[in-house]
């Protein structure tokens, strides 16, 4: 006589045999409330806001470093963003708008990333002990990412508020005066290192986190990360030096605005 055994794939589940095991999720297919989709969205938003900030960072550095080409080049870039070429006359308000948007993005990113920070003494101690005994590059790198990120809460906010509140004071002389006579260069120096390290690590971790290049490329991604940070820190230092240099030589006339040669000539004739 043949008989068939029907195994139900899901074994009946009683209380866990393990005393303090996590509670068993019920295996009941009938309408349980679904888990919130927000953790997924927040994770995506954290990555997306970081990516946008990193892209802005790259573009920003490209624009600011035009001072290395010439004062006129930077003057034109600064005026370009005031939109006179489109709206007939310059609107520094446009710069304020962009700065506000970046500040909002920064706040969103900081809020999302803060969820990953160690919370409380126990977590700090656990992570530091772990990092110190493991001697593992990517783990230690996260600590650097965390602290540079923490610094950026303050440094980037100060800089952004400056741009937001005085959008018309961007130009070869105005910026150089801010850097030197305004005493902002120590902030910019710290900001430069923090942001370029944080951005480089962040971009690397984005690629690793979402698995965009497989797991055989990590050494090359690390190389790219070093190159990113080194390139932008160098460019940033040169740019900052250029502003300091200009600011020092312009200190006596601090507050005077840059007038391009062509305009200056027509004014005198």
């Amino acid at each position: 006589m043949s008989h068939s055994i029907d195994y139900t794939a899901n074994p009946p589940m009683g209380p866990s045999v393990i005393p303090d095991a996590p509670a068993l999720p019920t295996n009941n297919p009938i309408s349980l409330p679904r888990k919130s989709r927000w953790p997924a969205r927040l994770d995506l938003l954290q990555s997306l806001s970081g990516l946008l900030l990193a892209l802005f960072l790259i573009a920003h550095m490209a624009f600011v470093s035009t001072i290395l080409i010439s004062q006129a080049a930077f003057y034109n870039v600064a005026r370009f963003f005031e939109g006179a070429w489109l709206l007939g006359r310059p609107y520094p308000m446009l710069v304020s708008l962009v700065a506000s948007a970046i500040l909002a993005l920064l706040m969103l990113h900081a809020w999302l990333a803060m969820r990953k920070f160690p919370a409380g003494f126990r977590q700090y101690r656990a992570f530091i002990a772990h990092k110190n005994r493991l001697h593992h590059g990517d783990t230690s790198l996260w600590w650097l990412q965390l602290w540079t990120g923490f610094l950026l809460f303050f440094l980037a906010s100060i800089h952004l508020y400056d741009m937001l509140s005085q959008p018309e004071l961007i130009g070869p002389y105005a910026s150089a005066d801010r850097v030197w006579s305004g005493g902002m260069w120590p902030l910019y120096l710290l900001l430069l290192f923090s942001v370029e390290l944080h951005g480089g690590i962040g971009l690397y971790r984005l690629l690793v986190k979402w698995g965009l290049f497989g797991d055989k490329t990590r050494a090359r991604l690390h190389l790219a990360r070093h190159a990113f940070s080194a390139f932008f820190i160098t460019l940033g230092l040169l740019t900052l030096l250029a502003y300091i240099d200009l600011g020092r030589s312009h200190a006596a006339q601090a507050g005077e605005r840059y007038i391009p040669k062509a305009a200056a000539q027509t004014a005198t004739h």
Binding site: A9, N10, A40, H136, T139, R205, G211, D215
Partner: protein, 253 residues
């Protein structure tokens, strides 16, 4: 380890004298405090930490506690911190290490004593929490021939099934050290394994219920300690990234 970094000893020279600093602690003993105890032994050819520990237990201190079963990297019992990094004692050659070796039990797991930790208890709890078994809607009949599976798919599932639950990935995970409810690479790898299996009829929505939060896949900060210490060289980075993409997609719906 890459042969380049191995400590080469001349064939004619005396064997190295190894000092093993071992963290000793028996939680069952009243008023006991953890402390390091140093043991010295002569290195032998092809000596693994498993061999060294057995020699110490046999010749110096029978009370030394550590776990082993297979001595071949299959059972996952002998994972411990070797100079701070999680590794299997049976797969770690002493010649790859300096003459001063520090051994400590894996963090995170319940300590049984000395180098012995109860990984099994945590692994069992995680399996129950993540429901790591085949979920089929249809009852399985033993009389009906199983549906054949493409060899490539069977290989892919087998690849993920190579996990031996040694606990190294958890001990190397910065997130798990801070947040003990994190499922870790071993848990996520298991979900990836059952997600591949066509006999498991759970959808991504079902898997999201298990790992769709900060103690699941979104808690992973991609520190990759798990990937770098896995004694079975599982591509945990790829599996976690894959699950992250699949689970994040559900957030867009």
């Amino acid at each position: 380890m890459i042969p380049l970094f191995r400590h080469h000893t001349k064939a004619s020279s005396q064997p190295r004298r190894l000092t093993l600093k071992i963290l000793r602690y028996n939680p069952a003993e009243l008023n006991a405090a953890p402390s390091f105890q140093a043991f010295e032994i002569d290195e032998a050819d092809g000596m693994t930490l498993f061999i060294a520990l057995n020699e110490i237990r046999a010749t110096q201190d029978p009370s030394l506690q550590f776990d082993f079963v297979c001595r071949a990297g299959i059972c996952g019992s002998c994972a411990m911190l070797v100079d701070g990094r999680p590794a299997l004692a049976c797969r770690t050659l002493t010649r790859d290490l300096s003459a001063q070796i520090t051994l400590a039990p894996l963090p995170f797991f319940e300590l049984i004593g000395d180098l012995s930790v109860n990984t099994g208890k945590w692994m069992r709890g995680t399996s129950e929490r993540l429901q790591t078994w085949i979920h089929a809607v249809e009852p399985v009949s033993a009389d009906i021939l199983e549906t054949p599976m493409a060899p490539e798919l069977a290989e892919a599932i087998y690849e993920l099934d190579r996990c031996i639950e040694c606990g190294c990935c958890i001990a190397a995970c910065g997130t798990a050290q801070m947040r003990p409810d994190f499922v870790g690479a071993v848990g996520l790898n298991k979900i990836a394994r059952f997600r591949l299996d066509p006999r498991d009829q759970r959808s991504d929505d079902d898997f999201y219920e298990l790992i769709g939060d900060d103690s699941g896949v979104f808690g992973c900060m991609s520190l990759l300690g798990c990937h770098d210490v896995c004694p079975k060289q599982l591509s945990l980075q790829t599996q976690i990234a894959f699950l992250r993409r699949k689970m994040a997609r559900l957030g867009l719906n």
